[in-house]
């Protein structure tokens, strides 16, 4: 028994995510760029749903679309002195563009030649309960380390961005 990823849904979500990324890089307003990044993240959450990764889709929507974009928007607003500062000069960066295009071209060439699994994928989709059970048994130690990393990052962020008392 096997199933496939709906091609139309994939095409729409891929278009949404790539379009969001392109708009994020082409818009000159930083606030608009943050909102386009949010759109890309939401499209990626939809792609996770297509891949039967419900928990990851949820985490993606909560962490990236929720927390990270709010953090980015707050930083943008706190570091702008005037409203007009949000609009930035046009900065094409031709060298960076050439490098990224070269990298992407090489990657796409490698992908087109590699013997990858085709559209039919194995079934046997574990549920979110299985995901949690394995996460807290087999992956318990990495999970604890990850929470420690988050704690340290939180304390460090508060320390760095704290007031002018020091």
């Amino acid at each position: 028994m096997a199933e496939t990823v709906n091609g139309v849904a994939f095409f729409l979500l891929a278009f949404a995510s790539i379009g969001g990324a392109v708009m994020m890089l082409s818009t000159r307003n930083v606030v608009h760029a943050a909102l386009w990044l949010l759109e890309t993240m939401l499209a990626t959450a939809g792609l996770y749903l297509l891949l039967d990764a419900e928990f990851l889709a949820l985490v993606q929507a909560l962490v990236y679309a929720g927390a990270v974009s709010v953090l980015v928007l707050f930083t943008i607003m706190l570091t702008l002195r005037r409203r007009e500062d949000a609009v930035r000069p046009f900065e094409p960066g031709w060298g960076a563009l050439a490098l990224a295009a070269l990298f992407g071209g090489a990657m796409l060439l490698a992908i087109s030649r590699a013997p990858l699994p085709v559209g039919v994928m194995p079934e046997s989709v574990p549920t979110m309960a299985d995901f949690g059970r394995v996460l807290f048994t087999e992956w318990a130690v990495p999970f604890e380390i990850a929470s420690l990393v988050l704690l340290v990052a939180l304390v460090g962020a508060v320390w760095w961005s704290g007031g002018d008392r020091r």
Binding site: N6, G104, I111, P117
Partner: protein
């Protein structure tokens, strides 16, 4: 790829490569520290998509790629939090977040 045909691992990897390249371009070309951090998030996002899709198409029962993606999300969330805190700290000192203003270590 014809539109409407079932998407396979190659399509997901191609999408992820395109997203990663766009993030790479942004991270290398932008002059605002916040834009560079946003491009880094885009790259991390592409990597996560790659992990999840390959895990789904090869061994979905083990879900290894999903766990890797969870830990990668933790690291990138920590990175963006620390990065933005650092941006705020630099802004308080220099009153700007342009990368061109940070050249103390320039030889």
């Amino acid at each position: 790829m014809t539109i409407g045909a079932p998407a396979g691992a190659a399509q997901f990897m191609a999408l992820s490569a395109v997203l990663f390249s766009l993030g790479l371009y942004g991270a290398l070309s932008r002059k605002s520290a916040v834009m560079v951090l946003m491009s880094l998030e885009l790259m991390a996002n592409a990597v996560n998509l790659n992990l999840v899709s390959l895990s789904r198409f090869t061994d979905p029962a083990a879900m290894t790629g999903q766990y890797f993606a969870v830990f990668s999300m933790v690291v990138s969330a920590a990175e963006i939090g620390l990065g933005l805190a650092l941006v705020l700290a630099i802004y308080r000192q220099k009153k700007t977040i342009e990368l061109e203003a940070m050249e103390e270590l320039k030889g």
